[in-house]
Symmetry: C2
Subunit: 251 residues, 2 copies
């Protein structure tokens, strides 16, 4: 029986890879993934055999990975962040079921983009939050924005994945408008581009100014809850809604 690992290697740098992700990649017969991810890993593990495929070919890549593992090879399918969050783990399980492939699939969890972005911004995720992808490739626009509305109603911190593309240039702004039905326009919003990679940069703005923020497809956007504040350039959400420690409304 072959072995297929769905490996999340975290935000991008070697330092945020887990010991297991490093070990699995080092010992795999074949490492496969979207071209951009393969190129990131080639720097750290130059001796490996890689099979890279373009982004739009992910179903083909998953089928290939399952087939290679069924032949008895040890295959690592890599992706950034956590492979269990909007990742390849689910597709691999679905394809292996469909093919009735004699393959053992194991997911190696990684540091998801929300954690990486939050660590750069300060500590925005100290309380309940949602992760919402603004990609409408496979989810209707109406459902995405309904979720943003629910997150607003519940005063959740909101992490937006895939915030912007050329076709979806105004989705972040629309989401901000919805959230402003429930929270102040001055609510802090953090944007991190290329979290954990060499090109990393971050930017803190507010809900009502988000339309002018430098957001692109390599960004994660984190909108604070009603208690989030900024001090000394750090975005901080207090741990609770009851002021036991005397920290609430510290600004």
């Amino acid at each position: 029986m072959g072995k297929l690992y769905a490996v999340g290697f975290g935000p991008g740098g070697y330092e945020h890879m887990t010991a297991k992700a490093i070990d699995v990649i080092k010992n795999a017969d074949i490492v496969t993934g979207y071209t951009t991810y393969v190129e990131m890993l080639r720097k750290f593990f130059p001796e490996k055999e890689y099979v890279a495929t373009p982004m739009t070919k992910e179903m083909d890549r998953c089928r290939m990975a399952v087939d290679l593992a069924a032949e008895g090879k040890t295959v690592a399918m890599v992706s950034s962040g956590d492979s269990g969050i909007y990742g390849m783990a689910g597709i691999l399980l679905e394809i292996a079921n469909e093919k009735k492939a004699d393959v053992e699939i194991e997911t190696v969890p990684g540091v998801t983009a929300a954690s990486a972005a939050a660590s750069i911004l300060g500590a925005p995720l100290m309380h309940d939050f949602t992760i919402i992808s603004l990609s409408d490739l496979m989810t209707p626009y109406s459902l995405i924005m309904k979720r943003v509305d629910c997150a607003g109603q519940g005063d959740f911190i909101v992490c937006l994945y895939n915030p912007k593309s050329k076709k979806r240039a105004d989705y972040v702004e629309k989401a901000a408008e919805i959230l402003m039905k429930y929270r102040d326009g001055k609510t802090p919003v953090g944007v991190v581009r290329h979290a954990g990679r060499e090109e990393e940069s971050s930017y803190i703005t507010t809900l009502d100014a988000v339309k002018d923020a430098p957001i692109d497809m390599f960004s994660i956007v984190i909108v604070g809850n009603s208690n989030t504040y900024v001090r000394d350039g750090k975005m901080i959400t207090p741990r609770g809604y009851e002021d036991k420690y005397g920290f609430a409304n510290v600004e």
Copy 2:
């Protein structure tokens, strides 16, 4: 200027620690944290100097860590999961601000419990989700359950942290009742105890049977969305709501 790291070491085993977390702990002058976490790490890094404090003393522990760093020491404050999610990162920043301490604080992100639990259950987090803590120590019960309701309305996958304690024995059941206003009682629910540790175990049940599930304070509970299904003992959420790949409603 001293250096203080808020280090998340992931679910508990060495394998899911990041390269940076390992490096920071190895090079710290002092490692501090809640007693249980310190004992976990002592097995992996027996030579280090540790200062352990009981769980309820976390504010004292954070003040001590800031003071030690202000003296010029390199301090690693450790916690399981990601230190930026319901972790120590926010408290450390707040205390350092309060004390005007000359300390550089850096958060080292880790694998959060939701990722660890999901990797064991299958692939439940392939779509938008919420993380909600059921602890009412610092958040009113009414707000917690309002958030569960919002998560239900938005058809979010729901990850429940701190699902149960002696005083909050029925909160998971209450949350399940709220979610059943919006989704079927047969919706899969995954429970993982001690994710990523030696004692790890997992259990898959349904919303309407959750009251009989083995859930305790060491558990993470993941409730699927309306599309989540179980096959071959794995809990899988399809990636989208539009059936481009012919996988929707596969059961």
